[in-house]
């Protein structure tokens, strides 16, 4: 089978395998076949203008779901079993064969694939078994909580008790790039990793060989309250297989690898929210990195319901970058970011709403040599190093948004401003969408944005953009849509982007 035929073959196989589930086989089953396809045509130019790559992208997904496999659709409190899967083909026909050929060292871009196919998710889910106590998922699935977006292949079991809490445990293999039907999206940051098949050991030794990554986790979660929720979660992932530790292919060192099972990530997270309908609500959460022994993220938000229409809020966010435990960047000095924001949201009418906010960020700054015993400069220069007096580097910003929605349409505006020592950005977008006669979709967007890059003043620009789109609803949840984007600024000159969309859904 040629590589080019793989996507079609896999999609066809998926549909074929699921054919027994579609209607006709049983009346109460609720099948659903959906597909979203987009074609994008635009050019990307390097910041210095020399290199231009043509993006000719085609992305299509095909999803198949079958609900109510137990054939008890009228009992929403009884057991339910469903199957959901979605595959994706994401091609860039603007890429060249040289970019994916490891036999061409001067042109290959490690990790780049011209037409990868991945299984976004594919699982069987059971809910409310054993009188509501047992739920489970088996297959490729997402986990979304205070530890972020994550995906693995395996099983998850959830026990929901009548005592207002549930416990959850899961285990399997983390989804990793370069593995069959997988993307690297859900791995921890900091490691350039993928399929090294066909690579000479000295070619891009920093590009690490992928291998399976056993993972497991657990969660304790509240259940049943409508005004309170909390989830305590733990996750651990291990790296396995060989890893290059000598990254100099230029002869400074001979390639050396380290092999063995070692930690990739181990983190604890907690998230909660509570709401009193007449007063307001609070939300908060954290992610603690056990490997780095530090908080990676802390956040909190307080909303006060000043009136039936007005909500006032204070948001706080603390963030420090953390990486896969294979990465050297965990060991680099990284200062925390502290954000404090205030915002208001006003529902002027049932159709018109406004939101506005302002925020301040304090970057941590090193004010003295961190390594007295191990000078930062081995050549006797540390005393010459410059350190600011203030430990805080401040930046500010704000946003304003409005939205008016009516029958089958909406118009709105969104603006944003960010001002810092090393750059600033300010702009506004106006947008609108209207469906006519339930089938014809019109869409438009226009905006002006200005940005200043203090480190590269030649990259400053004021940019105007407009987008116009028109579509036709074929039937419910199915749409064909075309849009045209035109950007104008002194860096890009005149740039155009064309897009075609086709969304289709077929249900019983």
């Amino acid at each position: 089978m040629s590589p080019r035929r793989t996507p079609s073959f896999l999609l066809a196989s998926l549909v074929g395998a699921l054919a027994p589930f579609v209607p006709g086989a049983a009346q109460a089953l609720e099948p659903e076949v959906t597909s979203d396809t987009s074609a994008q045509f635009y050019d990307v130019r390097s910041p210095t203008g020399e290199t231009v790559i043509a993006r000719r992208r085609l992305t299509t997904t095909l999803g198949v779901s079958v609900y109510d496999l137990h054939d008890t659709p009228d009992d929403p409190t009884g057991p339910s079993l469903s199957f959901r899967a979605r595959m994706r083909y994401d091609a860039d026909y603007g890429g060249t064969a040289n970019e994916t050929n490891p036999g061409n060292p001067s042109g290959v871009v490690p990790g780049f694939e011209r037409g990868p196919v991945d299984l976004m998710y594919g699982y069987v889910e059971g809910r409310r078994y054993l009188g509501g106590w047992l739920g489970f998922k088996v297959g490729r699935q997402y986990v979304v909580d205070s530890l972020g977006w994550w995906s693995f292949d395996g099983g998850q079991v959830k026990i929901t008790t009548p005592l207002y809490f549930a416990v959850e445990a899961y285990g399997g293999l983390e989804q990793r790039g370069g593995m069959p039907l997988s993307t690297p999206r859900f791995e921890r940051e900091g490691i350039w990793r993928g399929d090294r098949t066909g690579y000479d050991p000295a070619l891009y030794p920093s590009f690490q060989p992928n291998d399976v990554a056993p993972a497991y986790g657990a969660a304790l979660e509240s259940a049943g309250f409508t005004w309170l929720h909390g989830r305590l979660t733990y996750r651990r992932v291990n790296n396995t297989g060989a890893s290059n530790v000598s990254e100099f292919a230029n002869g400074l060192r001979q390639p050396v690898s380290y092999s063995g099972t070692r930690i990739s990530q181990e983190r604890i997270g907690y998230g909660f929210d509570g709401t009193l309908p007449d007063i307001g609500g609070v939300k908060g959460g954290l992610a603690y990195d056990l490997y780095n022994a530090r908080f990676a993220n802390l956040y909190a938000s307080i909303d006060a319901y000043a009136s039936r229409k007005l909500t006032l809020s204070v948001d706080y966010d603390y963030y420090v970058p953390t990486f896969d435990a294979d990465s050297i960047w965990n060991f680099f000095l990284a200062m925390p970011m502290n954000d404090l924001g205030v915002r208001a949201s006003w529902d002027a009418t049932d159709h018109l709403a406004f939101s506005a906010g302002a925020r301040a960020r304090a970057f941590g700054v090193q004010t003295a040599n961190e390594n007295v015993s191990s000078p930062t400069a081995p050549n006797g220069l540390p005393d010459a190093n410059y350190f600011p007096k203030s430990s805080l580097d401040l930046m500010g910003g704000g946003n304003l948004a409005a939205r008016w929605h009516f029958g089958e349409g909406a118009v709105g505006a969104r603006s944003n401003a960010d001002v810092a020592k090393n750059g600033e950005r300010l702009g506004i977008d106006l947008y609108g969408e209207r469906t006519l006669e339930t089938r014809f979709v019109l869409s438009a967007r226009a905006g002006v944005w200005q940005w200043n890059d203090k480190l590269r003043t030649d990259r400053d620009a004021v940019s105007f953009q407009y987008v116009a789109g028109v579509g036709y609803k074929l039937w419910q949840r199915s749409l064909v849509f075309v849009d045209f984007e035109h950007d104008m600024n002194r860096i890009a000159g005149q740039r155009f982007r064309g897009m075609l969309w086709l969304s289709m859904a077929v249900t019983k």
């Binding site: 030794p205 949201s345 977008d429």
Partner: protein, 481 residues
């Protein structure tokens, strides 16, 4: 066939296959396109409507208080024909205590997506019928205690009124008025004038877009007021008396739960199953509007800035989001392949470097830097280690950016402030050249001052990154062993 032609043929073949598969599936499930989810009209709707087909008319505004002349013209002495046109006399303000449980002061009424707007073209005084005529709710709403579906029409038919009003509604094409004033057509039918014959304004209470079983509630002795409020204190009952979701939660728990009394429920217990425009377990888009979570429900109101703040909800309880959104709705951004313009506006390709440096949005929320960002940067040459070498220098001059000693504008400040920005273009090797231990790199120590205190634990759990910069036998590494 050339390679290029082969690619094209392959692409076309793939396209044809995908389209064929989808079209085949379409054929298998072929159905007439409904009018965007609008429910099919029921015969009972027709019964409750005009005697003869009449174009929909807006409900007439509440009539002003009857004048003396009008009262004089009233055929039925003692009856105020201005009553029953609004919930309270003279359209007075509705006190919270009369609204259904869960309603708020200055409530705007229930969701139009669930309870579509109604056209009430009848005058009716509930209070009069309950207090003075001693009627019960079920006297007129006969089917309410046995109804098992929202498709059941529970408003009384005209024949229900006949026994007291002397009218005959058996044949809606030949309705016979009663002999006294209370039996005249315009006694109840608003806007009816002498000479209109058998034509009255259409009365329309659309079926709610939900699931509800009155019988299940009635057999548990849940009375009408527990869901509809004190209708017996009102003249005209409007949409405002429809139940509020917050009131339902008085008995029902909303997520999956183990046995917890008889009111355990899932979303599908009350909401219509099936994906809407955006998928999900329940249908959220209806011709009369889209369902949106109320402010009081997990503080998750979808305000115009919700895209910037939704993490507070999603990170705490993603299952709550999954009630209305399927995975692909979230992954359209969080694992997306098409730039969402509401998040990355305008010429974001040229703008994103500034935003990445400011970290106003966390790139890692949706992108993995060592794959998504690095791959593209290497293709266009914004990288030290990629195959494209003809791009110019991205950073300020080396003498300012990376040469020691550290001065204002030095890259170390940028790295300390936002290390993620470095990781989006550079690979480990780029940093090790200078920051690796002596003999491997330049010996410029990147560690924090407290690093040595915790490095032994990290070394035990994963020594790999240590070996990237230090030889296994290096003396400096012994401090972490």
């Amino acid at each position: 066939m050339t390679t290029k032609q082969g690619k094209s043929v392959g692409a076309i073949a793939y396209l044809v296959l995908v389209v064929a598969l989808v079209l085949a599936a379409c054929t298998a499930f072929a159905q007439d396109p409904p009018a965007d989810g609008a429910p099919a009209p029921s015969t009972e709707d027709a019964d409750a409507g005009a005697v003869e087909p009449a174009p929909p008319q807006p409900a007439p505004p509440p009539a002003p208080p009857a004048t003396a002349a009008e009262e004089a013209q009233a055929w039925f002495t003692g009856v105020d024909v201005s009553s029953g046109q609004s919930p309270l006399p003279n359209n007075g303000p509705m006190p919270l205590k009369l609204l259904p449980p869960g309603a708020f002061e200055q409530d705007r009424g229930p969701s139009a997506a669930i309870f579509p707007p109604q056209k009430l073209t009848l005058r009716f005084n509930h209070k009069f019928h309950v207090e003075q005529q001693k009627l019960q709710c079920k006297t007129c709403h006969v089917g309410a205690i046995t109804s098992e579906s929202v498709n059941d029409r529970l408003t009384p038919k005209g024949t229900t009124c006949d026994s007291c009003h002397g009218t005959t509604h058996d044949d809606l094409s030949r309705v016979t008025p009663g002999s006294d004033a209370s039996g005249k057509c315009n006694f109840c039918h608003l806007g009816y004038k002498e000479g209109d014959g058998n034509l009255v304004a259409k009365f329309d209470i659309p079926r709610p877009n939900m699931v509800f079983n009155h019988k299940k509630h009635a057999v548990r002795n849940i009375n009408c007021q527990q869901c509809h409020g004190d209708v017996q204190e009102l003249e005209l009952a409007t949409r405002d008396q429809m139940p509020r979701m917050r009131g339902c939660f008085g008995c029902h728990q909303h997520p999956d739960a183990a046995a917890r009394g008889e009111a355990k429920a899932t979303c599908e217990t009350c909401h219509v199953k099936g994906g809407g425009q955006e998928g999900g377990r329940i249908k959220t888009a209806f011709p009369t509007g889209a369902m949106q979570p109320p402010r009081w429900l997990h503080n998750s109101q979808h305000t115009p800035d919700f895209v910037q703040r939704h993490k507070y909800v999603a990170a705490n309880d993603s299952q709550f989001c999954a009630n209305c959104h399927k995975e692909e709705f979230c992954t359209a951004c969080h694992d997306g392949r098409v730039r969402p313009r509401n998040i990355h506006p305008n010429d974001y390709l040229n703008m994103h470097a500034v935003e990445g440096r400011l970290a106003t949005q966390k790139c890692t929320s949706c992108h993995r830097e060592q794959s998504f960002c690095l791959g593209c940067h290497q293709r266009v040459g914004v990288s030290m280690s990629g195959p494209v070498k003809d791009s110019g220098r991205f950073h300020p001059p080396k003498s300012e950016w990376s040469d020691p000693p550290r001065r204002p504008g030095h890259h170390s400040f940028e790295a300390n402030r936002n290390l993620n920005a470095c990781v989006s273009c550079h690979i480990e090797r780029d940093c090790v050249i200078c920051h690796g231990g002596k003999g491997i790199g330049g010996g410029f120590n990147p560690h924090s001052g407290s690093f040595v205190a915790g490095c032994s634990t990290q070394f035990k759990r994963n020594p790999r990154p240590c070996y990237v910069c230090h030889d296994p036998g290096a003396a400096v590494l012994q401090r972490c062993k």
